[in-house]
Symmetry: C2
Subunit: 132 residues, 2 copies
Amino acid sequence: MTPGSPDARAVSEVVALYAAAWDEHDEAARRELLERSWADAGVYCDPTAVVEGREALVAHLGAFLASGAGARVVVTSGVDEHDGFLRFAWQVVGADGSLQFEGMDFGELDEDGRLRRIVGFFGPFPPADRAG
Amino acid sequence: MTPGSPDARAVSEVVALYAAAWDEHDEAARRELLERSWADAGVYCDPTAVVEGREALVAHLGAFLASGAGARVVVTSGVDEHDGFLRFAWQVVGADGSLQFEGMDFGELDEDGRLRRIVGFFGPFPPADRAG
């Protein structure tokens, strides 16, 4: 997919809606953001959680927001997509603007262009000898 | 999955076998490396190619090696895995050791612990305004 093409813009918009849900305290508004960006049965996972289905994700993000003491998720890269798969980088930023941690997400789109999977990884790539 | 655990070592070994196949000019030896690391019907894709099935990947890597003028793929990070998904970083290095390009791969494991999918992305994450 060519950067700047309508399709690339659509992919970026879906990710922007999804990211906005991570910062939306109002449950109904959060659900609406995910209805536009997340497949009904989409699966989210990261090293700490597996969340199956949009409604479960609405609740999971609510728990994140309730526990986060003002922390926000900020997408820090563009969205790179090919073959229905995508990647982007993000940071969690504290209420005071300080970097709390960073990571990267890999996603899959469904036929409607919504996210049917996000796999999140925390931190940069591990060093080459990590599991050696 | 805990770094250094037997399972993490197994995941790293599977990726090492897969990476070795990218540098194995002997077709039979390349096939054997992929038999140990790649699912029969595994799908590889990057921005330039979609390759379905192990035997097609044996041929695809052969074409890469034939065209590469001595370039080699080197895995430059550890392998980070959770929930059957993994990531690692790599570089393509020229015969003279120079960096030609770099990228990152995201993978999925099957029940046997072999790769059933690799999605490759080229370069670092795009800048935040790429598709804006």
